[in-house]
Amino acid sequence: MIVRLQVNGARREADVWPGTSLLTLLRDHLGLYGSKNACEQGECGSCSVWLDGELVCSCLVLGAQAGGREVLTVEGLNLERQAGAVQAAFVEAGAVQCGFCTPGFVVAVTDLLSNDPAPSEASIREALSGNLCRCTGYAKILDAVNLAAGRLRDSPA
């Protein structure tokens, strides 16, 4: 079936098997490999994208459900703005090791900071509870969130 949707501001279409997830549609049909395929059951958050502005696991969205809707992936983030500060903070704080979970974390952290510019540690932990990292032990990821949040408060993007 043909699915027509808006991805990162551009009109796209893909001819997919009807049971295809949005994640597979993005990766295997549109060549957007930033959203990672790890667990395919919504546990790890590596495939996090925005669907009509809401943070979701793209592996749990049927491709056809995204038809006519707007999807924003990690590739579509505007690095001149908030997401750039998040990306830079991840690099500086050493919150990246193997890097596999990083796109999902950058998406989830950008979502958090756009809703809550000064999150408490408890809020950060809750907001990132759906993203797994098996390398860092999370301490440096929390550092990165605080670093990005502080910078964005000092000089709002």
């Binding site: 079936m1 098997w17 009807p18 049971g19 997830s21 395919e40 059951q41 919504g42 546990e43 958050g45 996090s48 809401e54 943070l55 979701v56 696991c57 592996c59 749990l60 969205v61 049927l62 056809a64 459900q65 038809g67 989830a108 979502d111 809750e126 907001a127 509870s129 759906g130 993203n131």
Partner: protein, 289 residues
């Protein structure tokens, strides 16, 4: 396989009646996993995520109606006054999951571990089932028949749930290996219904379906009366009463050993949850919350 994409509930019902084998899909937090792993290959999928009729959240005549398509994130944000419901919704998965998972999905999947189901049992909620030209309301315990079994007919869809609003404090709590992203090993919803002066308690993940702990409810109701606590929330209950209540909650369980925990651990967990939930409720009443 085919995907059916109705725009209205009426269209969806016609499609369901014409294709009884079609599987309704909303937030995908259960079904997409089965699709991704090749465990589910239905002849067709009915996308119910675009139906405005299912996203209704309304209050009238002392009742609350929650549409089947309302996601947990919206319950947490908009129904904070129903504290156990908001707590159960917030305990579901992660932010990503709560943005997608729906009330209708919890009901339709009918897992004994469905987080909001013990709350709906305590609220004595009715499930609205619709088919073309007809609606019926089934009490929660006539809808949930067993593990992943419900009374829904092949031509019906879940429209939502409705319950009578009552005064009273309470909580939902659950046991798992993490605070987030966890399927409950045991869960408990406890509410002190101040209107009827009746304790209400329901258990999740501790039997083939959600269970009300009737003997525990009646015992505590009577002990609160004996202590004068329904009239004066400052009246205290002795520790033996609290322990005896917890024991009766654990006795109501019909748990099994499975990958998430043993039956004995589930009973132990319920005793702990019951003591905590009762302590919170009594303290809330003393504080007038």
């Amino acid at each position: 396989m085919d995907v059916l994409l109705p725009r209205t509930l009426e269209e969806a019902l016609e499609m369901k009646a014409a294709h009884p084998q079609t599987v309704p899909l909303a937030g995908g937090t259960d079904l997409m996993v089965d699709l991704n792993f090749g465990r589910l290959r239905p002849p067709s999928i009915l996308d119910v995520s675009r139906l405005p009729e299912l996203r209704v959240l309304s209050r009238e005549d002392g009742h609350c109606f929650l549409g089947a398509g309302v996601p947990y994130s919206r319950i947490t944000a908009e129904l904070g006054e129903f504290r156990p419901l908001a707590q159960a919704s917030r305990s579901v998965g992660s932010p990503q999951i709560r943005n997608r998972g729906t009330v209708g999905g919890n009901l339709g999947t009918a897992s004994p571990a469905g987080d909001i189901l013990p709350v709906l049992a305590v609220y004595q909620a009715e499930v609205d089932l619709v088919r073309p030209g007809d609606t019926r309301a089934l009490a929660w315990d006539r809808f949930l028949l067993g593990p992943k079994r419900t009374a829904i007919a092949p031509d019906e869809l879940i429209a939502g749930v409705r319950w009578k609003v009552f005064r009273g404090t309470g909580s939902f709590s659950k046991i798992g290996t993490r605070n987030a992203m966890v399927i409950a090993v045991a869960s408990l919803c406890l509410v002190l219904d101040e209107d009827a002066r009746q304790v209400r308690a329901a258990l999740g993940s501790c039997g083939p379906t959600i269970l009300r702990a009737a003997a525990a409810e009646d015992y505590l109701t009577a002990e609160l009366r004996r202590a004068g606590s329904w009239d004066d929330p400052a009246c205290r209950l002795g520790q033996p009463v609290i322990d005896a209540f917890a024991e009766r909650v654990a006795d109501a369980a019909r748990p099994i050993d499975d990958v998430r925990g043993t039956a004995a651990y589930r009973r132990h967990g319920l005793r702990v949850l019951a003591r905590r939930a009762l302590a919170w409720a009594l303290e809330d009443r003393r504080q007038g919350r």
